[in-house]
């Protein structure tokens, strides 16, 4: 893994669905992307179904949708989707052999841990994919990582069964710690502050992580989300406010941003 982004080929490609399966509340989508380079943890793709894109509620989806790579190697890409609207609904009904338009890999990946710091990976719900990808890459690089995952309930937590050794938290206490995944993070930082935090999840959770990192002066790398039209810096639509004023585009300046660089993360 490196801190530089892997460049995207110029142009969207027709990838093919290898498999699509449901795990609890989520779908796992496996795509054959033979001509594309392997992504790095933190990078994402803009995806759209090859057919039937545009006939959902309110005559949508029209634009492609952003999804973090959950893994990628040897011409295969993995994604994890939560169905929340017409775009994810369409993608979650794709069948083996059907086509998907893919543009990517996009965005700046996670930078490596520095100064021998311990990597704390803290994910909430659908924020899991880039962290799972990262934890594998760190392991491959011979580095240690703590993986902490928070979910709404057991149905959502089911997907975590695949990731041995992860610390779990659920809002309803049905699995693991009863409470927020950021409680787990605070506990790890209490135990040993010589760490670097990697986080992805809903805005409220990321804001909590950002505050923790800033308050304790620990480096934090947050993989952000924002509504996107293009994913490659063209539309200026996907901005987050910066600590120093002004905005950054999540798609080209992120999605991974340093906690210290960010102002309060706006609620969705």
């Amino acid at each position: 893994m490196s801190a530089d982004r892997t460049l995207a080929p110029f142009g969207r490609r027709r990838a093919v669905v290898v498999s699509e399966r449901r795990v609890g509340a989520y779908s796992i989508l496996e795509l054959a992307d033979r001509d594309g380079p392997a992504p790095q943890p933190g990078q994402f793709y803009m995806l759209a179904a090859g057919a039937g894109w545009g006939a959902g509620e309110d005559e949508r989806p029209f634009l492609p949708r952003a999804f973090s790579a959950m893994g990628g190697a040897g011409g295969t890409l993995w994604f994890m989707l939560e169905t929340v609207g017409p775009g994810t609904r369409r993608l979650a009904t794709l069948r083996k052999g059907e086509a998907v338009w893919a543009l990517g890999p996009l965005g700046r990946p996670f930078a490596r841990p520095e100064d021998g710091r311990r990597a704390l990976l803290c994910g909430g719900g659908i924020g899991l994919p880039p962290l799972v990808f990262l934890s594998g890459a760190l392991r491959d690089a011979g580095l240690d990582a703590v993986l902490q995952l928070g979910f709404r309930d057991a149905a959502h937590a089911q997907v975590a069964a695949g990731f041995a050794g992860a610390q779990l938290a659920t809002d309803d206490g049905s699995v693991g710690h009863h409470g927020l995944v950021t409680d787990l993070l605070a506990a790890e930082l209490d135990a040993d502050p010589h760490a670097v935090v990697y986080a992805c999840g809903p805005p409220g959770m990321l804001e909590a992580v950002r505050r923790l990192c800033v308050a304790r002066d620990v480096p934090g790398r947050l993989a952000l989300e924002a509504g996107m039209a293009c994913g490659y810096g063209a539309c200026f639509g996907c901005v987050v406010p910066l600590a120093g004023g002004g905005y950054a585009r999540v798609c080209v300046d992120g999605p991974v941003m340093e906690a210290a660089a960010l102002a309060e993360i706006p609620a969705a």
């Binding site: 982004r5 460049l7 995207a8 080929p9 110029f10 142009g11 969207r12 759209a48 545009g54 309110d58 005559e59 949508r60 989806p61 029209f62 634009l63 492609p64 338009w101 543009l103 996009l106 924002a226 509504g227 996107m228 039209a229 293009c230 490659y232 810096g233 063209a234 539309c235 200026f236 639509g237 996907c238 901005v239 987050v240 406010p241 004023g245 002004g246 905005y247 585009r249 080209v252 706006p266």
Partner: protein, 296 residues
């Protein structure tokens, strides 16, 4: 490829980008030099530049609509000085001519912008945005011939570079505004900019979704409106027209050319497919050469 003549420029094909819908500098960070090798547009139009830097509107800035989208970007840009100092050298590396789009709140601002751009050889042509629906001044200026004409009268003498006036569609009779632009010496007009629109927050509260309140509608949803406005303007002016609004395919582009446009621009469709404009350009280059739609 067959060159298309436009205001003294020789373009490889008739397809540009819509201002504010492609950032060549960011795209090069994402796609690398592959972008330059297959640059999709025959000239590159910059995002709107203003005199002072602007942060743009608070998020959310985007809303997906039926067959289109609303944006409320709010013209974020570095301001004239940093654009000239930082961006121009990078944009000069593009394999195509550069059109710089500028907006001023009044004639004095526009004059300052145009004078500064005139001095720079990297800039091949200027586009005046008098039509942005997100900023009150841009709207008022271009909606009414009587307010546009005196501004152009001041600005026009300040440059010999081709001057394109980008019209607002949010007006009762766009052709009258185009006629005023022609009468005041514009070399071309471009249209349409986005239609004023609004999206309600999905939480049902009734407050607007977009951080900027109102937004601008773009994409296929408005293509019939764009085509009608281009045709209406073509009936009334002799200067060349850059037609845009919802163009997705070569067939759509041909409809705009047949309605009287010399060039077309692709905006929103590039968000879905970043190389689409290059394919349209290829498909249209021969057509343009044959049919002589190219203006002098």
């Amino acid at each position: 490829m067959s060159p298309v003549a436009f205001c003294g420029l020789e373009l490889a094909h008739p397809v540009l980008n819509g201002s504010g819908t492609f950032d060549a500098i960011a795209a090069r960070r994402v796609f690398g030099d592959a972008l330059l090798a297959a640059f999709p547009f025959s000239a590159f139009v910059s995002k709107t530049i203003t005199l002072a830097p602007r942060d743009g509107n608070p998020p959310p800035r985007l809303w997906e609509a039926a067959a289109g989208m609303l944006n409320s970007i709010g013209l974020p840009n570095k301001g004239l000085q940093r654009y000239l100092a930082e961006d121009l050298p990078q944009l000069a590396q593009l394999p195509v001519p550069l059109v710089t789009n500028v907006m001023g709140a009044n004639a004095a601002e526009l004059c300052a912008l145009v004078e500064a751009c005139d001095a720079r050889g990297e800039i091949a042509a200027l586009e005046l945005n008098v039509s942005c629906p997100n900023v009150a001044t841009g709207l008022d200026l271009g909606a009414d011939p009587a307010s546009l004409a005196p501004v152009l009268r001041e600005v026009r003498p300040l440059t010999r570079k081709p001057l394109i006036v980008k019209l607002t569609p949010n007006t009762a009779d766009v052709a009258r505004v185009a006629q005023a632009a022609e009468a005041e010496g514009a070399d071309a007009v471009s249209l349409i900019n986005t239609l004023r629109g609004m999206a309600a927050h999905p939480d049902g509260s009734g407050r607007p979704w977009l951080g900027g309140g109102r937004g601008g509608l773009s994409g296929p949803a408005l293509r019939p409106v764009a085509l009608a406005q281009v045709a209406a303007v073509a009936e009334r002016v002799a200067i060349p027209i850059v037609g845009m609004g919802g163009i997705q395919t070569a067939a759509h582009a041909r409809q705009f050319l047949a309605a009287g446009a010399t060039l077309v621009a692709v905006g929103t469709e590039s968000f879905r497919d970043p190389t689409v404009a290059g394919r349209l350009g290829l498909a249209l280059a021969d057509l343009a050469a044959q049919s002589g739609t190219a203006a002098p």
